[in-house]
Amino acid sequence: MNGLTFFRLLAGVNARIIRRNILALREKSFLMVSVITLFVVGYWFAGYAVFYMGFHRLAEVPGLQVIVLDRMLYLFFAFLFLMLVFSNMIIGYSTLFKSQETQWMLTLPVRSLDVFRWKLLETTLLASWAFLFLSAPLMAAYGNARQVSPSFYLKVFLLFVPFTIIPAALGSIGILTVTRYLHRRVFKCALFGISAVGIVCGVAFLKPMQAEDLEPAQMVASLQQLLHHSHMAVQPMLPSYWVASSMIAWGEGSTGQGVFYFLVLLSNAMMAMLLCVTLSRHLYYDGWSRNHGQGDFQLGVPLLDKEINLPRMALLERIMNLWPRLDHATRALMIKDIRVFWRDTSQWSQFVIFFGLLGLYVLNLRSVAYDWNNEYWASFVSFLNLGASSMTLATLTTRFVFPQFSLEGKRLWMVGMVPYGLKRVLLEKFWLSSVCSAAITVPLMLTSSWMLRIPGWLTLLFGSTVAVMSFGLCGIAVGIGALFPNFSSGSTANRRGDNPARIVSGFGGTFCFILSLVYIMLCVGSEVLPMYSSFAANGFTDRGQPWGLVFSWIFVSLLSLAATAIPMSLALKKVESLEI
């Protein structure tokens, strides 16, 4: 069978599956579908409004808007490009090497190259669809600020096609190479080595604001600082540079230059794809075979062939034993969850990347030194930091905690049949994830507050807020995860159930994320309000005595208790009567 017929048949089947999935929405709760639809539309409108206001604020300073707007575009696409490469690598590993559908396809009378091509297309779409969704308000606001013609948006869409192809090809080349030549163990070791170096470098750079940073900055100096810090994004060899340059040119009406950068992008996308497909001829089948048969793979390098077990599992048990009041069943469940997480490449690799981004965030906090002596500005940044940390935590809980119950899948009967029952399993997942989340976010909050030179009492407030929010967000994630599980069914290993990223992208995952965002908005909003009122009462020059923060903190604690108790109690009730 030729590749084209194979693609046509698969496209037909996938279209039918998508149609069925859409029709299945009718069976879901009307309220929930409405909430999610409202959220999507609300995100577009709110995102557009924020960017629109920002861009028009910039327009108040002559000449500033164009410079900042364009630089922002370069920065946006540079980060997006990086994220798309990682995203393609992670999704590509699951799709190309771990999916049961792929194994089945490789037994069909089609070339493995055709299977690779189809799976590459699937990976690209899965890894990039959110990019269109998320960037739509920014593009609309940019177009509005630049007063472009409607055809601009069509051109932008055209630009996005080659722009998503390049990271897809690069990500796939990366994962093909790693799978073909590196054993999982070596890859894990290399990734942790790189992370360790990153942490050491990060700690070396980590220091609080210096006196010179705290000087009230002038507009020109701030602008220079911004341009200096974002210089890396304006490298002409980056695909993000080509896409941004083309957009800017089309926005300005310079069709020739716009077309030039589009063609540069397109030719590079085609070249990257050609390189990827050519390499796949040599690497894909070998890599697949090696990946599925590397039980006791030896590299012949003594140091690398040694068993690497980080963290040592015996050590893990010893650590758990330090907690004497922990009963045996909960201890066993916790050890099992940590082990399963550690051994699932698609889980921990995303976790490492996630922490890399967090590290970047903390390191970049030094760049927000604009007019630091202004108390209003200082407070504004510190609350932004609280919001950013909470959002990060919500992403973490939705991505890693929400799928935990679904991931039990076919094994659920095993843990459910022990005398302690599924309620204990659910509670264990809640406590384990809450403690781990708090262990991550509280130090993050304290470090970032220290770097921003936030007063001690405010640091304490933020630290304790984030601590209680860790429990609230994990309560939502574990509770909604059990209320809307996404199991693999029967013996055929449903394509969604064995992939955490796919579990999250379902209905329950979206609902969990929306609830988390609403919860964060209520928590952060309730603390911003008394601070803002206090500033307003003092003419925005002095923080005053924002005693209302005490009540806000009590409100956040009560809200967190509700956010934990309501979904958890509903979930506990559900699992009690769950037919496994």
Binding site: M1, F6, V13, R20, E101, R111, H292, G293, D296, T492
Partner: protein
Amino acid sequence: MIVMEHLTKSYGGLMAVNDLSLNIPQGQFFAFLGPNGAGKTTTIKLLAGLLKPTSGRALIGGHDIQKDPVEARRILSFIPDMPFLYDKLEPMEFMLFVGQLYGMERAEVARASDELFDVFGLDEVRHQIIENLSHGTRQRLVIASALLHQPKVIIIDEPMVGLDPRSARVVKNVLKERSRAGVTVFLSTHILHIAEELADQVGILNRGRLIAVGTIDELREVSGEKGELEDAFLALTRAQEETTAKTP
């Protein structure tokens, strides 16, 4: 029809399949037995072309599965122990999709599907969504879809898992009929009485090595056990374990 020539697969220090040579002629029903971890699944994956051998080669209908995989798979049906199905399709849609993947015309697929649905008792569920079907029904559907393109070679791993006695009987009958009609069946199983009931030849694999091959009677003779195949199987694998233990 299935030829293995010095087929070897090693995972570092572990020899999962060790110098396996076998020639299974057309129309033979070959049962592949062995204890857990003997290397049966690895052998099957090597035959299906899912794993690359460390050395040696496997031929399906004269086609090297590594060098000429498309031609080899055209005449092959591989049914793994954990088969794949599209949960959101209906059985008839799945059959149509699989048939077309093997280059069959729609009308031809429809006709063959009707026959297979009738044989496997799938008529009632042909328009139900697969995710709503029971494990046994899915298993029957997988086997039916594997027979759709009239393969010359069927490689099947633990086919009876999850099947009720009636369905198991149907599967056994269909496989035996196909074998009599000239299809080569390579069946891997733990259930010895299936091998006893269906197989023309039996191969026993232990620790990656083919320790015995022959008819049931020949295996009984070699093992010195006159009773059931189970006794012969245990005697042969025990003997190899003892020999391995004595080897320095």
